[in-house]
């Protein structure tokens, strides 16, 4: 019975993509699918263009892709019905990106300390984010990524 109710509630959540723009920000809710990374990227590109931040676009877009990909894989565990919330905002010459998933979180302190192996086929997501953002943190639970970088 409970399973039936849950299934009923989550029905249709595998095709969510809602984007809204604020004067200095962008908010997106998306189902956990790889196709939605491309859609979020397109919106991010448009937002950065509107803000005159083309020079920073590659760094921000690639970090966004890594953050959402990690959220899909590790937070949502591949469940398309789980929603990810992504926001980007410009605040006092700083760009702040937040990506929150519905997962149970992870031990991000240990993961951030581990360095990538450059001859390994995987495990570069956090390293890429750290290469472009001065500040890479999570909330205590470990299900919300917060990236900050100064914009000159």
């Amino acid at each position: 019975m409970l399973r039936h109710i849950v299934r009923h509630i989550v029905k249709g959540r595998d095709n969510v993509f809602k984007a809204s723009r604020r004067p200095n920000g962008l908010d997106i809710s998306l189902s956990s699918t790889l196709e939605n990374i491309d859609r979020a990227d397109k919106n991010t590109k448009g937002f950065l263009h509107g803000m005159g931040l083309e020079a920073e676009a590659f760094a921000i877009r690639v970090a966004m892709r890594e953050g959402i990909l990690n959220a899909i894989r590790h937070g949502s565990c591949g469940d398309r019905n789980r929603i990810i919330r992504y926001s980007l905002r410009l605040e006092n010459n700083s760009l702040i990106m937040e990506i929150e998933d519905e997962g149970s979180g992870f031990d991000w302190r240990t993961s951030l300390e581990n360095k990538h192996l450059s001859n390994s086929g995987s495990g570069r997501g956090l390293s890429i984010m750290k290469a472009y953002f001065a500040d890479v943190t999570f909330n205590d639970k470990g299900n919300k990524l917060i990236l900050r970088k100064k914009i000159s």
């Binding site: 491309d38 877009r61 450059s118 086929g121």
Partner: protein
């Protein structure tokens, strides 16, 4: 002056032989080299399709794989993983991977990930 004819003949033969050598060298190099042109971003949603194309290309043999990134604007950790795995399997058999026509952004990313220490990286001009 018959000696002139002999020397001229020898010179022509030498030119022909050298040209033949160069053509053979070029053909040999082409046989050992494969070129992969993804033509689209190498990111999580596209990597599975690109991996299949890459495997088909590598089935034909060849020691050197050139990945031509013309038109590629974005690469993520999954795309980098594909290139590194390809490099590793080529390296095991004495082959090598060369990345050409990478944009400045992609070159900078590869350098930040120290990938330029593993395979040859050439920027687009």
């Amino acid at each position: 002056m018959p000696w002139l004819h002999v020397e001229l003949g020898q010179a022509i033969i030498i030119i022909i032989v050298r040209k033949g050598d160069r053509l053979m060298e070029k053909a040999k190099k082409e046989a050992e080299q494969r070129v992969f042109r993804p033509g689209e971003d190498i990111v999580a949603p596209t990597v599975d399709g690109l991996r299949k194309k890459l495997l088909n290309l590598m089935e034909g043999g060849g020691k050197e794989l050139v990945v031509d990134l013309t038109g590629v604007q974005m690469i993520d950790s999954v795309g980098i993983g594909l290139l590194v795995a390809t490099h590793n399997s080529l390296h095991k058999t004495g082959g090598r991977l060369v990345v050409t026509n990478a944009s400045k952004d992609i070159c900078d990313l590869f350098k930040a990930m120290r990938l330029d220490q593993h395979f040859e990286l050439r920027m687009s001009e």
